[in-house]
């Protein structure tokens, strides 16, 4: 591996924003192969850090820490070896990697001390300052990260001015990205300006050969670990564009935000974060559904995507997702959660957990689905007669009644004293007796078929006044009081 790419790899890795699961698996396999065959300790340490970042992105934190610890061991061993053989450039580089590994493990004091040690020897190295910046960013020390990034940029810019190759210019842009990342929490205006400069710079002529190489290889996958200029260019283009779009969104500049995301998708059409962003920005519900479906196909376990989709599903209601893919199954499970159909949601999530047993995101959702349901708001109604119950209210009641032990004696008395009123669609009566039907998407039935005074046989939609007796499966068991035409 070219040593120039190692720090670029690490920096972009720390800011990965959700790549495809297929890409994750492929990349993991590639990194594991690299570790097995690589002799250079620096490259091996970097690969372990990249693996740790991949695991962290999948919310597999135990594995992530194990990888970071391995990186630290390798870097520390190489420090000692380089020092005893008086190879001080290697020593300083290994020290910087050990610092980053400490930072990934949350070991602040050790990370800072080793960063300072590294720059004692190599304060003229842009790569070393970039590693310093990465370590500080991981620790949340944004001002320190920004300062270190500026040093890297200053050094790399001089090198690029002397020799303006695509490689040198790419390095400058990578370090600019590090600066922008640090500035996100310090100075949003400057962060936007820096990211816009990067995106514009990547479109300039010196990078034509790289773009042609990308097109020639038909390589559009964005990897966390980059192996050459084309990979680094793609990763940077992707990350910078997504960050820029997010910043524009936060500022309400939706036109520029869409343009930034479109630019990302122009080079990589299935980027999950860009697709989710376009879903967010879409005014049209069907267009949102389509973008979310594409985003879930790209990365079904992104917590950010899941949170966004749940807000959308809560407002937009259910839609048929199918169950052919993991993304579709996740969306279905989330829709069930949002519509308070906990039993069904739990089953769907348990099925997913069987296929992905180490996935922390699924495990967290299963725990949520298994939690005792909240007491339905409707039980707190002051008015207890003729309560207009919505579909969502009735779902909450079903969940509540389905959970053994949730319903207290007092709640039972309260429920028994309440009467409700809803527009119901009845199943065709048998001998003028109605057995059940649905209120919205909620099925109900009576304890026994019931005849009502009046001629209702020809009508299916009627106003039903009722009491809630309990649940039968996923249907409500009702005690009808009267029916009337709506």
């Amino acid at each position: 591996m070219k040593s120039r790419f190692v720090p670029a790899i690490l920096f972009l890795a720390t800011t990965a924003l959700g790549q495809t699961r297929l890409a994750d698996d492929f990349e993991r396999a590639a990194l594991e192969k690299q570790i097995a065959r690589e002799r250079d300790p620096i490259a091996r340490a970097a690969a372990h850090i990249n693996l740790g970042d991949l695991d962290a992105n999948r919310a597999e934190m135990t594995s992530a820490r194990r990888e970071f610890r391995k990186a630290l061991e390798i870097a520390s061993r190489h420090r000692r070896s380089a020092r005893s053989s008086s190879h001080f450039t290697d020593y300083a580089t290994a020290t910087a990697y050990a610092a980053l590994a400490h930072a990934k493990l949350g070991e602040r004091v050790e990370a800072f001390a080793l960063c300072e040690e590294a720059v004692r020897y190599l304060s003229d190295s842009a790569k070393t300052w970039n590693l310093y910046s990465s370590a500080m960013l991981v620790l949340g020390e944004h001002a320190k990260a920004a300062s270190a990034a500026r040093n890297a940029i200053a050094i790399a810019s001089r090198e690029a001015a002397e020799s303006p190759t695509a490689g040198h210019l790419l390095d400058v842009n990578i370090y600019q990205y590090a600066l922008a990342s640090a500035l996100m929490k310090l100075d949003g205006d400057e962060a936007v300006a820096v990211l816009a400069r990067i995106v514009d710079s990547l479109a300039t002529d010196p990078f034509d050969p790289i773009r042609r190489e990308i097109a020639r290889r038909e390589a559009f996958e964005v990897f966390t670990s980059t192996r050459n200029d084309a990979d680094a260019f793609l990763a940077l283009h992707n990350r910078a564009g997504l960050r820029l779009g997010k910043l524009y969104e936060e500022r309400g500049d939706f036109g520029r935000a869409r343009a930034a995301y479109d630019r990302v998708l122009a080079l990589r059409s299935d980027d999950p974060s860009a697709l989710a962003a376009l879903a967010r920005l879409s005014a049209n519900v069907e267009e949102k559904r389509r973008h979310y479906a594409d985003a879930f196909e790209a990365n079904p376990f992104s917590m950010d995507l899941i949170r966004e989709y749940r807000r959308f599903a809560g407002d937009a209601g259910d839609a048929d997702t199918g169950t052919a893919t993991v993304g579709a199954r996740m969306r279905r499970a989330l829709q069930l959660l949002e519509s308070n159909r906990r039993n069904e949601a739990r089953q769907a999530l348990v099925d997913l957990a069987r296929d992905f047993p180490r996935n922390a995101t699924i495990a967290a959702l299963v725990r949520e689905a298994e939690r005792a349901p909240a007491r339905p708001a409707i039980l707190a109604s002051v008015n207890r007669q003729g309560i207009e119950a919505s579909e969502s209210d009735l779902r909450a009641v079903i969940e509540f009644l389905s959970d053994e032990g949730a319903l207290s004696a007092a709640d039972r008395l309260t429920l028994d004293a309440m009467t409700f009123s809803s527009i119901a669609e009845f199943a065709p009566p048998q001998d003028n007796a109605f057995a059940g039907g649905s209120i919205g998407n909620i099925r109900f039935r009576f304890q026994q078929p019931t005849k009502f005074r009046g001629d209702f046989a020809s009508s299916s939609n009627l106003r039903l006044d009722y009491r809630i007796l309990g649940v039968a499966g996923d249907a409500l068991l009702l005690d009808p009081i009267r029916v009337a035409r709506p």
């Binding site: 000692r80 008086s86 001080f88 004091v109 800072f112 300072e116 020897y121 920004a146």
Partner: protein
């Protein structure tokens, strides 16, 4: 002269902090570069006071009754005196602040400049000296900067404020101290830690205005023999040097070994010791253990 570290037993040292002590031994400042704070302690009364300082206080010195703190990432030099705090802007990646007499010197690693300030932080002079030095020391005539990449010391005349001499020293030299202050018999020496060759080099300083180093050093370096240059071999590569009173100490950051560096010998005095726990007292070295100082040497 580089004066370092902690004397007091009055307070707990934050993990990772450094300590600076005043020349009269009456005040100490605990500098926490990660937390961006300084705790100033009166070692006589035991009173302490905490100050928030700009980002990354990386170097500090006492002078003219005040504490001067260099905040690298904020690019600020701050003077703390009683209740008054003032700050001025400094150059990019300013890493060292040293005081001599009533002057302060700040080195900017990225700009490659040495800047002189008055005690009230008014800029007096700036000169270009070279980027990426790893250490700065000053005596009353010269400032010395050490460049590890070239393994070279550069001397700047404090009269003319210009570079007047250079000397290649060792293979990868990273730290220096000034030993043996100039007197009637000798101009004093510069000691340089060279972990690559596992030596501490000693170079005579010059009392001539024509150069900073004894001319004999050059002859010595060319192998012609001289009393102006000498070295001692260290068992492991010493990369940090400290001066405490009339004694010199060296430290290996990778093996955590502390040595006493004598004129012709090197003596190990502690191992498995963290540099951050080491305290320099007027009489020698001590280590910070369980909130107490324990003599080492």
């Amino acid at each position: 002269m580089k004066r370092i570290l902690l004397i007091a037993t009055f307070f707990a040292l934050p993990l990772g902090a450094d300590v600076v002590v005043s020349a009269d031994g009456q005040k100490a400042a605990v500098i926490d570069a990660l937390a961006d704070s300084v705790v100033l302690t009166d070692l006589v009364s035991g009173q302490t006071r905490r100050y928030e300082v700009p980002e990354t206080p990386i170097s500090a010195t006492f002078a003219e009754g005040a504490l001067y703190v260099l905040s690298r990432d904020a690019r600020k030099l701050t003077r703390i005196r009683h209740d008054e705090t003032i700050s001025v802007d400094v150059g990019s990646d300013s890493t060292f602040v040293r005081a001599i007499g009533n002057r302060l010197y700040v080195y900017s690693r990225m700009d490659g400049t040495l800047t002189e300030y008055s005690p009230d932080l008014r800029l007096q002079r700036t000169t270009v000296v070279g980027r990426f030095a790893s250490d700065l020391e000053v005596d009353d005539r010269h400032a010395y900067l050490l460049f590890p990449r070239a393994s070279e010391i550069v001397a700047i005349s404090l009269d003319t404020f210009a570079v007047i001499d250079r000397a290649a020293v060792g293979a990868t030299s990273v730290d220096l101290i000034l030993e043996r202050e100039p007197n009637a018999l000798s101009a004093g020496t510069v000691a340089v830690a060279d972990p690559s060759s596992k030596r501490v080099w000693r170079i005579a300083r010059s009392d001539s205005t024509a150069g900073a180093f004894g001319r004999a050093f050059l002859r010595g370096f060319l192998g012609l023999g001289s009393s102006a240059v000498s070295s001692v071999i260290t068992p492991t590569g010493v990369d940090r040097l400290w001066r405490a009173g009339a004694k010199s100490f060296g430290y290996d950051s990778t093996t955590h070994t502390l040595y006493r560096i004598e004129r012709k010998n090197v003596r190990q005095i502690a191992e498995d010791i963290d540099a951050r726990d080491i305290a320099v007292t007027p009489d020698g070295l001590a280590v910070w253990r369980d909130d107490r100082l324990v003599d080492l040497d």
